[in-house]
C-alpha cells in the first residue's frame, strides 16, 4: 500500500464533519482516494464533494441575505 499523504487542498473527512469533527484526511495516490484515520471513511474527491454538499444542507439560510433585524 502507498504512503498516505496530504491531498489536494486539505479535505476533511466528510463523515467526521457531519459530527463536527475536523479531521484532515490522507490521500492514497495509488488508489486515488482519500481516507480517514478515525472513522474509516474512504472515497474519491467526487464522493467527498457530494457529502460536503450534503453537510451544507443543514444551513437553510446559507444562500439567503437577511436584513430584517
Amino acid at each position: 500500500m502507498a504512503q498516505g499523504r496530504k491531498g489536494k487542498l486539505n479535505y476533511r473527512c466528510p463523515r467526521c464533519l457531519m459530527r463536527e469533527i475536523d479531521m484532515d484526511m490522507l490521500f492514497d495516490r495509488d488508489a486515488g482516494e482519500f481516507y480517514c484515520l478515525r472513522c474509516s471513511f474512504t472515497g474519491d474527491e467526487r464522493e467527498v464533494l457530494r457529502l460536503n454538499a450534503q453537510f451544507r444542507e443543514k444551513y437553510g439560510n446559507r444562500a439567503k441575505r437577511i436584513t430584517d433585524f
Binding site: 499523504r5 496530504k6 487542498l9 486539505n10 479535505y11 476533511r12 467526521c16 464533519l17 463536527e20 469533527i21 475536523d22 479531521m23 478515525r38 460536503n52 453537510f55 451544507r56 443543514k58 444551513y59 437553510g60 439560510n61 446559507r62 444562500a63 439567503k64 441575505r65 437577511i66 436584513t67 433585524f69
Partner: protein
C-alpha cells in the same frame, strides 16, 4: 454611544501552524524555514492592503516572532504613519527560534504557562517591543488572557488599556471539533466587549475597585445561537471560520453580512451601541488553500468581508477604530452595572428560533424561546471565582467559567430517559396532567422601562383535559440588583373554575464540561413563615415542601455560589428536591395554585455564597 464600532486586528504570525504543517510535510520541524516566513509576510501585507483599500484602520498586533523581522516592523511603522493604524502586541505567535532558545519551551498558549513563565514572557515581549518602537503597546491579547496575567501586565505596564481576552464559547465544543487537540477551554464569557473583574477575566467588573484596568474584547464576533451549540471556529466574523463551517453556496457568503447586521442590530438592546471585531493571522490564507477552499476563494472571502465593512463606513453606518481608541470610547459611557443583552435570532438554519442573552456583573443568562423561555445557561458571575489557569494551577487548561445551568452539556429538558437535566423553567399542572413550558416554543419581544430590560414572550396555549389556558411569561432584568423577576401569567382560560398549579423551578448542578461533578456539600434550604429546613446533598432523593415559602435556595460551595428563588406572595409553597447518582441535579422551586386567571411572580438571584 450610539454607533457601530469595528476593530480590524491583524497579527503578523510568521510561522502560523497551518502554513508550517503544510511546508514541513515529510520533513523535520524547522522554525526558520524562509518560504513560510516570506509567505506569511506576503499574506499579512495583503490583509492590510484589503483593509486600507476599504478605508479601514487596523490594529496590528505584533507577534513575538515578528519582532525579529525587520520587514514586519517596517510595515507596521509605515502603516501607523500612513493609515493611522495602531501597533499593539499579541501573545499569539510566540513560537520562533528566538523563543525556543530563550524559554526552551514549545508552549503556544500564554495562559497555560506557569505564572513565573507568564511574567518572564510578558517582560521579554514588551521589552523587545519597546526596543523596536520606542514605546510600550497599549493593546494586547491572545485567545485567552487570565485575570492573573492581565493583573501582572496592568501593574507593570499601566498604559495597556485593551486586550483580546477570550474566544466566546470555545470550550468542550471547540476541543471536540479539533479532534480533542485544541486546548481553548474557555466557555462562559461575554460575546461583546466588557470591563473585566480583577478576580476572573470572564466576569464584568462590579465597580471601580474590581476593574482590572483594561477593556476586554472577545476574539471575533460569533453567532450566539450556532456557537452555543457548535464549533466556535465555524460561525464568526472571520471569513475563514465561515469557510471552515462551509456556510456558503457558489462561493458567495451572505452569512457574513447577516452576522455583521445582526451585531449592528444589537444597538436596540444596548442604548444604541454595537460592536464587531475581526482578528486574523496569515495562516488561513495559504496559497495552497485551506478548508476545502482554494486561494482565490480565501482571498475573495476576505475582500468581500472587509468590503462590506468599507461599504458601511462609506454610508456613515460604521466607525472603524483601533483597539485602544475603542477602549477609550467604551469607557466614556459604560456604568459598571449596565448589562449587555441581545435577542438573537437564527440566521443560519432557517428557523424562527430566538435566544435572549444577558450579561451583567452578577450573571450570564441565556433564555431559549424554542423552549418556552427556559433558562438554558446560567453563570454565577457574582461569585467572581478566582480560578488561576496554567501550569502549577489546579485548573490547568480548564479556563471556563463554571455554570450552574448549561442545558446542552447537562441534558436540559428531558424528552426521553429517566432523571432530570439542568434547566430553569415552569410547569403547569391540573389533576394528574403536567405540562412544562419547555415543550411550548414561542417568540419574544424586548422592551425597557427605565433601567429594567424586559423580555416578554408571546402567550402559549396549554391544553388540559377539557380546557385550555393561555400563558404569558415575562422576564424583567432590573439593572444593578443581580435579580431577575419572572412572571408567569394565565392570561386566558376556557374554564374559569379550573384550578391550575404554576410551578416555577430551577434544576441545576455546576461544572465546566459535560461530565458530572460531585454535588456532595451542596446545601438546599427552604425558609418561610413556619421556619427553616435544610439538607446537605448526599444523593438520597430527599424532598421537602414548605407552605408560606419566602425563599428557596441552593448554596454550591464548590463554585462559591448561592442560587435563590423568592416570592412576595404569602400563598406559595416552596420545595427542594435532592437528586441521585444517575441524576446528579438539585431542584428548588416555588409553586402556587390559581383558579381561572392568575399569576406567579418570583425572583431569581445569583450571589456569592461566602
Amino acid at each position: 454611544m450610539g454607533d457601530f464600532y469595528v476593530n480590524i486586528v491583524h497579527r503578523p504570525e510568521l510561522i502560523p501552524e497551518y502554513l508550517q504543517k503544510e511546508a514541513e510535510e515529510g520533513k523535520e520541524e524547522d522554525l526558520t524555514r524562509s518560504e513560510v516566513i516570506e509567505e506569511s509576510l506576503d499574506i499579512f501585507r495583503t490583509q492590510q492592503q484589503i483593509a486600507h483599500d476599504n478605508g479601514l484602520r487596523t490594529t496590528i498586533q505584533m507577534t513575538y516572532a515578528s519582532l525579529f523581522s525587520e520587514e514586519a516592523v517596517a510595515v507596521a511603522k509605515e502603516h501607523r504613519e500612513v493609515y493611522g493604524d495602531e501597533i499593539g502586541c499579541t501573545f499569539l505567535g510566540l513560537q520562533c527560534r528566538q523563543f525556543r532558545d530563550k524559554f526552551k519551551s514549545k508552549e503556544l498558549a500564554v495562559w497555560l504557562l506557569s505564572m513565573e513563565d507568564k511574567r518572564r514572557v510578558v517582560d521579554e515581549v514588551f521589552g523587545r517591543f519597546h526596543q523596536l518602537f520606542g514605546f510600550y503597546p497599549t493593546s494586547t491579547g491572545s485567545y485567552y488572557m487570565d485575570a492573573e496575567l492581565v493583573n501582572y501586565i496592568k501593574n507593570k505596564y499601566p498604559m495597556v488599556k485593551a486586550a483580546v481576552a477570550t474566544c466566546w464559547e470555545e470550550g468542550p465544543k471547540a476541543y471536540w471539533n479539533a479532534n480533542n487537540s485544541w486546548y481553548t477551554l474557555m466557555d462562559g464569557g461575554p460575546w461583546n466587549p466588557w470591563i473585566p473583574s480583577k478576580r476572573n477575566i470572564h466576569c464584568p467588573a462590579s465597580d471601580a475597585d474590581d476593574d482590572i484596568g483594561v477593556v476586554a474584547i472577545p476574539h471575533l464576533s460569533r453567532d450566539l445561537m450556532a456557537v452555543f451549540d457548535g464549533p466556535g471556529s465555524y460561525y464568526g466574523t472571520h471569513p475563514q471560520n465561515i469557510l471552515r463551517g462551509m456556510v456558503y453556496e457558489e462561493r458567495e457568503i451572505p452569512y457574513f453580512k447577516n452576522l455583521v447586521d445582526q451585531y449592528r442590530s444589537m444597538g436596540k438592546y444596548n442604548r444604541g451601541y454595537s460592536y464587531n471585531m475581526v482578528f486574523v493571522g496569515p495562516g488561513w490564507m495559504s496559497k495552497r488553500g485551506r478548508w476545502e477552499a482554494d486561494y482565490d476563494f480565501l482571498l475573495k472571502s476576505y475582500r468581500d468581508g472587509l468590503g462590506y465593512y468599507g461599504e458601511l463606513k462609506r454610508e456613515g453606518k460604521l466607525i472603524d477604530v483601533t483597539m485602544s481608541d475603542f477602549a477609550d470610547i467604551y469607557r466614556q459611557d459604560r456604568p459598571y452595572t449596565r448589562p449587555e443583552s441581545t435577542l438573537w435570532k437564527d440566521i443560519l438554519y432557517g428557523s424562527k428560533r430566538q435566544q435572549y442573552w444577558h450579561i451583567d456583573p452578577w450573571m450570564r443568562v441565556c433564555l431559549d424561546m424554542n423552549q418556552g423561555g427556559a433558562m438554558v445557561d446560567l453563570r454565577p458571575y457574582a461569585a467572581k471565582l478566582e480560578r488561576p489557569v496554567g501550569v502549577g494551577s489546579a485548573c490547568l487548561q480548564d479556563a471556563s467559567y463554571p455554570f450552574l445551568i448549561q442545558s446542552y452539556y447537562r441534558a436540559g429538558y428531558f424528552t426521553h430517559y429517566a432523571g432530570e437535566g439542568a434547566v430553569k423553567s415552569c410547569k403547569f399542572r391540573h389533576g394528574c396532567e403536567e405540562v412544562d413550558l419547555c415543550a411550548c416554543r414561542t417568540l419574544a419581544s424586548f422592551s425597557e422601562e427605565g433601567d429594567t430590560r424586559i423580555v416578554t414572550l408571546d402567550p402559549v396555549d396549554i391544553e388540559f383535559d377539557g380546557f385550555t389556558v393561555s400563558v404569558r411569561s415575562q422576564f424583567r432584568f432590573v439593572e444593578g440588583t443581580g435579580e431577575i423577576e419572572i412572571v408567569r401569567e394565565i392570561v386566558e382560560t376556557t374554564n374559569p373554575q379550573a384550578e391550575v398549579t404554576i410551578d416555577e423551578y430551577a434544576t441545576a448542578c455546576y461544572g465546566t464540561t459535560e461530565y458530572p461533578e460531585d454535588l456532595t456539600g451542596v446545601k438546599l434550604t427552604l425558609q418561610g413563615a413556619s421556619g427553616k429546613e435544610a439538607i446537605d446533598y448526599a444523593y438520597k432523593c430527599r424532598e421537602a415542601e414548605m407552605p408560606g415559602i419566602e425563599l428557596a435556595e441552593a448554596i454550591v460551595p464548590h463554585v462559591d455560589s448561592r442560587l435563590a428563588m423568592r416570592t412576595e406572595s404569602d400563598d406559595c409553597t416552596g420545595y427542594f428536591r435532592e437528586g441521585f447518582a444517575f441524576s446528579p441535579m438539585y431542584t428548588i422551586g416555588i409553586k402556587k395554585k390559581v383558579k381561572g386567571k392568575g399569576e406567579l411572580r418570583t425572583w431569581l438571584k445569583v450571589a456569592k455564597a461566602s
